[in-house]
Symmetry: C2
Subunit: 240 residues, 2 copies
């Protein structure tokens, strides 16, 4: 079977203005090469509805797989989900499954789930959600188009979520744990744990909020029991 | 007058395979923003003739200005110039003006001007050359399409060459000097010189060949007499 062909669509004025240097293209190129997906084209377009819809339609018809990056946050210029719905001619609204994920997340955090944050639960009809173990707000897959966040740590976690579907490998299960310590404290115990579970992949995605350091540690593997056991060990290492 | 709109076409398998991380897109985005050119879209395609021609035709019709990066070197997979000729429906061959520039350059270097190197003198009919003060092999402008090298130092020098044409500024004149010293030795005298000529821009493009360090120093300005005087001073600072 020949390798699947792929294209990427990067959405964001901040890349085209030079304010931000895109990191996701290089990351995706390396991951796809490693896993036998043939990245053939990348387009970068601005936060402009007709430009996004036209690029989506050209790429989804021309390639087996399309990955998008950017434009699915809470602000008014995050229009990627609406553009995907338009490109596929389907309805879009806040969807219960995505809303439930986000509502639970913000409740745990003690943060108001306001109208702006509810925008992140807008999912086109017929799409399936892409797991976001880092910051919860999901991506989604609509036919051959995989819609992901632009923030590199989230983008990378979502790429890990979809890769098994693209390459015919066993789907990966993931669990994540929010650890309120700096990565300097997490690194050594995590490395030792990873060595005892060579069949699992463990990633750490650091954050800083109100001067407090923490990290979301994500454990992935195709064997759910193993993921569960490693996660229990991890939680034991870092009691809340 | 509204800002001119622009698109960029990056050509190269090495970007799409993740072997190389593209640097030119971010550089161009910053330079265009600084100079009031509105970069609206970037495409990255592989070294594939139909893909390059299709992208060229879409972008040159959709935007005021198109910049390409990559695929104008001496090897068989450097096909950008031929693709531009095909997109515009014009003839292409080794052109005397480009060949003369390269022949003189290789003669100075004592390097054979072989068939592979002569490929770099293939220029479509009707194009004008873009100055390459770093490594001589020229880019070219065909109507609204500016064809440039992928090597970042050369790409950056070529961007400086075309910017005044895009923004209606006075065209810049340039002279370059090849200095066979490490940049550590060049930096201080060059900074002092630049301070005495605040109206000129001075850039240093280092290289290393057979274990010997050197740099091409490029001086640019709109006043030819000033460029000439600064260049004479520079040559006095670093006798061969």
């Amino acid at each position: 079977m020949p390798n699947p062909t792929a294209a990427m669509l990067v959405i964001g004025d901040e890349i085209l203005s030079g304010r931000t240097r895109d990191a996701n293209m290089h990351y995706l190129a390396q991951e796809f090469t490693k896993h036998g997906v043939d990245l053939r084209e990348v387009r970068v377009v601005s936060d402009d509805r007709p430009a996004i819809v036209a690029a989506l339609n050209a790429l989804r018809k021309g390639f087996d797989v399309v990955v998008t990056s950017g434009g699915i946050g809470p602000t008014h210029d995050d229009i990627t989900a609406d553009c995907v719905a338009e490109a596929f001619g389907v309805h879009i609204d806040v969807r219960d499954d995505a809303r439930a994920l986000l509502a639970a997340h913000y409740e745990r955090q003690g943060v108001e789930f306001n109208a702006a944050r509810q925008r992140m639960a807008r999912i086109p009809d017929g799409a399936t959600l892409i797991d976001n173990p880092v910051s919860i707000a999901p991506g989604f897959t609509m036919e051959n188009v995989h819609v992901m966040a632009g923030v590199p740590a989230v983008f990378q976690a979502m790429v890990a979520s979809i890769l098994p579907h693209l390459t015919g490998g066993a789907p990966l299960l993931s669990q994540s744990l929010r650890i309120m310590r700096g990565e300097g404290e997490i690194a050594e115990p995590l490395a030792a744990l990873a060595q005892r579970y060579p069949d699992l992949s463990m990633g750490s995605y650091p954050f800083q909020r109100d001067g407090v350091y923490g990290a979301n540690v994500v454990i992935r593997g195709s064997d759910g029991g193993r993921v569960e056991r490693a996660m229990a060990e991890l939680a034991g290492l870092f009691p809340a």
